[in-house]
Amino acid sequence: MTASAETGPVETPALSLPRPGPGVLKKTAYTALIVALCVVPFALVLVISMGEKIEGAGWQWALTLENYQRFFVGAEPEAPTYLYLQRLWYSFYYAIIAAILAVATAFPFTYLMTRQSRRIQTVWLVFLLSSVSLSEVFVVMGWDILLSNRSGLPMVFKETGLTAWLKDVGWFQTLRDWGLANPRNVRFKPTEFATVLTMSYLVWPYAVILLYPALARLDNATLEAARTMGAGPLTVVRTVVIPSVRLPLVGAVLLLFVFLLGAYVAITVFAHPSRHTLAVSVYEAVRGATLNAPFGAAQAVILLVTAALFLGAAALLARIGDRRAA
């Protein structure tokens, strides 16, 4: 791309040989950028995933599928274990619940926000955008303190007599059944509840920001038209607002879901070690205790491919749904 790009501005190309037009140059530059930023790193991970660990040392290049085999059936296929498949399941489980929870709670908030004056909307958006600058570590630390058994909410429950009251009315047993209490008091660590709660809190501002454009663009007259046809406020939301922003809603869930597949800190702090996700296990393999980069890479590839399949299926369903609605 250099030679022709540097020849400078507007010269009559009268008799020169045909040169690549600016369109071709742009395309080449884009392709190079995509190859450098996306394809090369992914190819590297893919190649490493077929390497071999050297016991007591690092790893070496190889072309084996052993790491993938280990992922699906364990190190010894004769006695199969499904530990990593389970971790893959937990990755999806936490991410999808947290993403749906975040979007489901952000939707009414954002809808009501877009009905306010411009000024109030701006204040909210600035506040939410600034909260996005908080890192995962910071947010998790906050929730860690808030939910910790000795100093957080459980202590508040105990000291205010709420725990005793729960025991009196018999609801304490229900909390125990759900794993949210030990024999003495409520507890939130480690629980799935705390994990999902923190994860959805983490992405909540993103959910608002993703839904905001669609809801702000919503034609107010269509909502008023529905009202003049007998629709009360909730019916308006159900029959006009939600169908109008159906695609942004699904899109927001998918985007946050993919984002949350990589959640690390929240899982290590709040989830029980037997219910850790693939992200945690990849980190352990690459940088942590087990130091097995090829196996970590294999797990990462599987996580990526599964997520891609998942998104592809969602896109297909959305298209079918759209065609059916049409």
Partner: protein, 355 residues
Amino acid sequence: MAGLVLQQIQKRFGRFTAVEPTDLSFRDGELTALLGPSGCGKTTLLRMIAGLETQTSGRILLGDEDISDRSAHQRKFGMVFQSFALFPHLSVLGNVGYALKIAGVAKAARETKARELLDLVQLSAFTERRIGELSGGQRQRVAIARALAQEPSVFLLDEPMSALDAKLREEMQVELRLLQQRLGITTIVVTHDQREAMTMADQIVVMSAGRVEQIGPPQEIYNHPANAFVASFIGRANFLSGTVQAGRVEVAGGVLAPEPAANFRDGSPVTIAIRPEKIWVEADAPETNRLDARVTFVRDVGATRDIHVETPAGPMIIEYAIGENANTYRVGDEMQVHLPPGALHVFPASERIAA
């Protein structure tokens, strides 16, 4: 169905008064046009009738019932919006059947009704189309059918023609009027287009600056404007300044005798309004009420000719049908114009004229 009555209805936004206390009645089965320049409060008035805006004070009665405190979804007045406000996620049939669907009408029944209405607005071939696949005129028909599906007691339209091009607008005005007469539904149309109001309405309410200026049938408003604003806003008018002297008006270059005589104290400053098509230019015009005039500009506008003249009392436009007058006037020609006494409308000079 029953008539609609507004009693001392008023709307204020903070310190700004959008609609001054207003009394209006809309007779059963009639079409009323709320006409006025933008910002005159006509849309606010319509939105208060629909229940989309809460009145600051006053009452709204539908028949004998006070509906002032009912919300829009309880009043269920069908409304056509300026932007049509169709639901993009529903088909044409889905849009028209919407009101019936949320009212819990069974699918078969509401589809039959929706198809009937689409037939009425000549869109029966478009039931399965998406809104994005329709032209402006088709969208308007869908909006009308949708608003009528719930068989509303009052039918409201907010600038329904403003999104259409000129030719389609004329067609739709006639079509909408015929449809309204066929259904006999009490209808209120907001418009800033006096031609539209004249075409469709049984009754026109002329508004400006939050106030009602005149209420009456189209011809009465055109021929007997209540004030200078109405005279200037409805159709074209020439305005001359003068002072009253014994029931006649002295203007620069002559004395004009209106009929009936100007009922003002002698010496009062007044404005005279006269429609361009009422002015005579023939030589055999009566000798009275004449002014000298010099032609400054002539233009043919289709079937009519406009002659711009300069008189001692100021510039005037004269309009006559081509063929009605054999003379051809050229720029610079000197002549006399006759202003018939019955066509002169005399207003206090202090009254505003529409911009």
